[in-house]
Amino acid sequence: AQTVTQSQPEMSVQEAETVTLSCTYDTSENNYYLFWYKQPPSRQMILVIRQEAYKQQNATENRFSVNFQKAAKSFSLKISDSQLGDTAMYFCAFNPGNEKLTFGTGTRLTIIP
């Protein structure tokens, strides 16, 4: 069974700084997909970024980028120029190619003004 581990329950950073959230996973699959979801206080789950394991290039979406290390089974999220609206729970999720997502326990990120 796949597992996803987020080792940082809470983090905080000053506005405009850069922060990196960690995620590791365990799988025997070779092709799979990784996602970061954001859950603000409104509770809605919002896709932040996704990565396909067969692509070596790290995914980037505006201020959000990932550091995907396939051999180490690591998938960290970097948020640059952090904004107050980035305050949320962030969940790392793994899809082994069967549409079933396995989520980590989340990291609560607070952006301090």
Binding site: Y32, Q44, F91
Partner: protein, 113 residues
């Protein structure tokens, strides 16, 4: 475009009561999912469906039932509510391709007293 709509948003049940959580999507997605999110945890898959008339168990199906008579609707039924089912429930849908994200509803907060 409404996306994924869940009703109700909040509900309090007594132990032993039954209820149905409604979920509908207007994106013509074949795949639909039900998750529960316990406090401080990630989402866990309860049931999923790959198309009308087809459903399958996820990680935590006990105490729940689902049906999928149409592409749009995927209701979740609790037959004998128990305190352990107190949680936030999320419905999601996707095209069914592993690299495509799941689109989530706003969640239903359910308390069993």
């Amino acid at each position: 475009n409404a996306g994924v709509t869940q009703t109700p948003k909040f509900r309090i049940l007594k132990i032993g009561q039954s209820m149905t959580l409604q979920c509908t999507q207007d994106m013509n997605h074949n795949y639909m999912y039900w998750y529960r999110q316990d406090p401080g945890m990630g989402l866990k898959l309860i049931y999923y469906s790959v198309g009308a008339g087809i459903t399958d168990k996820g990680e935590v199906p006990n105490g729940y039932n689902v049906s999928r008579s149409t592409t749009e609707d995927f209701p979740l039924r609790l037959e004998l509510a128990a305190p352990s089912q107190t949680s936030v429930y999320f419905c999601a849908s996707s095209y069914g391709l592993s690299n495509q994200p799941q689109h989530f509803g706003d969640g239903t907060r359910l308390s069993i007293l």
